[in-house]
Amino acid sequence: MSSSRWVTVVFSVFLAISLIASVLLQRGVDQLRTGATLEEVLYISSPQALKRLSLGYDGLLADIYWTRAVQYYGNKHHDGARRFDLLAPLLEITTALDPQLLVAYEYGANFLAPKPPNGAGMPERAIALEEFGIRNNPNAWQLYYNAGFIYYMELKDYAGAAKAFARGAQVPNAHPFLAILAGKMAEHAGDRQMARMMWGTSYQTTKDVNVRANAAAHLRALQVDEDVTNLEALTARYQQQTGRFPSSFSELEAAGMLRGTPRDPLGQSYKLMPDGSVDLRTPDDFPFIEKGMPAGYEPPLSPKILPSD
C-alpha cells in the first residue's frame, strides 16, 4: 500500500499548509476589512425593512448587530477615536430588530450620548433612541432612567431630567432611586452628590460589564474630585494656620487635621505638592477626573476604563 501511504502523506502535508495559510490570510483580510461589514450599516436606510427581510429571525439578527455594536464601540474606544459614526445606526438597527433588547438602550445612554473620546457625542439621537424604547416598553423603568441620565449628563437639561425620572418613578416596580432623583433635582442639580447618586444607580442596576466598568470609573473620578477638594481645603487651612504648606501628610496628621495617609480609590497614596495641591500618582488610571491632575498633564487619547469588580 505504499502508493496509498505516499498519497496520504502528500495530501496531509498540503492540508496542514493550507490550514495555516488560510488562518494567516484571514487575519490579513480582517485587517483590510475592519469595519467594512459594519459600514454597510450606513446603507440600511430603513431598519424596518430589514426587520421584514429577516423573515422572523429578527431576534438572531438583532443579536448579531448588537455584537457588532459592542465590538465597534470597544475597538474605536481602544483606538482613541474621535468619531463613532456607526454607533447610532448600529444601535438603531439593533433596537428596530429587537425593541426589547434593553441593554442596547443602556449603551445609548452611556456611550452614544457622551462626547468623544468616551462616546459618539450624539445626545439628541440617544434621546430619540430612548423614546423609541419607551414606546415599545412602557413599563421598563430603565429607559426613563436612561433618558433622564442623558438629559442630565450631556444636555444639562435638569428640568427635562427631572421630568423623565418622575415619569419613570411611576412605572410599577421602578427602582426607588428614580423618585429620589426626581425629588432632589431642584436643589442639587449639577452637584457632585447628584452625579454620585446617578452613577451609583447605574453601577448597581446594570447587567452589562462595560456599562458597569464605565460607571465605576465615573464613581472613582467623583471620589477623587471630592478627596482632592477636601485635601486641598485642608492644606489651605494649614497654610493659613502655619504660614506654609505642609510638606507631607504626616504633618497634617500631627496637626490633627487628618487620620492616616489618604489613599485614592485604587489604594495608592495621594501626592502632596509643595504648592499645597494634591495630585494622583497614576492619573492615567482615572479618566473623567476634574481635579488631582498633575501640572501639564495630558489625559490619554483613549480613556483607560479598568474592568470593574
Binding site: S3, S18, L25, V29, E39, V70, Q71
Partner: protein
Amino acid sequence: MNSRIAHIASNTFREAVRDRVLYNLIVFALLMSAAAVVVGQISIDIERLVVINLGLTAVSLFGMVIAIFIGIGLVSKEIEKRTLYTVLSRPVRRWEFIVGKFFGLAGTLAVNTFFMAIGVFVALLYVSHRFQKQDRWVLVALYFIILQFLIITALTLFFSSFSSPLLSAVFAFSLFVIGSFAEDLRGFAGMMHGATRWLATGAAYLVPNFSALNVITSVAHAQPVSGQLVLYNSAYALVYTAMAICGAVLVFERRNLK
C-alpha cells in the same frame, strides 16, 4: 495522471451540463434579473442599486444551490449508485478522481455564473443605458462570487466523500450560512473567555469566510474594491479550496465503498 484528471473533469462537466436541473435554475436566475428591472422602476434613483443588489444576490444564492446540488449529485450519487465501481477498477487513483471531479464542477459553475452574469449586465445596461466606470466593480463582485462557489464546491466534495447525499447538502448549506457571518463569529469569539474562547476562535477561523467575499452592498453603492482585498481573497479561496480537497482525498482514500 494529468490526462486522466482532465478526462474526469470533462466528463463531469458533460454530465452536469446534460442534467436539466441546471437549466431550470439558470432560467430562474435570469428571471430574477428581469424582476430587478421591474422593481427598480418604482424609484428612478435606485434602479441601479436594486438591479445590482438583487441581481448579484440571485446569482450568489442560486449559484450556491446549484453548486451544492451538482456537487452532491455527481459525487455522493456516484458513490451510492456504484458508477464508481467501474471507474476505480481502472488505472485511476482515488485522488485523481476527486481532483478531476472538482475541476469539472468548478468549470461548470464558472460557465453557469457566466450565463447568469450576462443576465445581470443586460439588466444593468437596460437601466443605465450604457456601461459606466463603476460597472467594473460589479465584475469584481462576480469574481468573488465565483470564489465562493469554488469553496462551497470543494466543501461539498469533502462532505460527499464520507456522508450521504442529504447530509452533505445539509452540511454544505450550513457552512454557507455560518460562513456568511464569519466576521461576526470572530467577534463573538473575542467576547468569550478561557477554553470556550479558544474553541470559538478556532471554529471561527475554520469556517469559510464568505463575509469577506461578499461585496455586493458596497459595489451596489459604487464603492471600489481594493486591489489588495482582491489579492487576499483570491489567495484565501485558493488555499481554503485546497484544504477542503485535501480533506476529501484523505477521507476518500480510506473509504470502503458500499
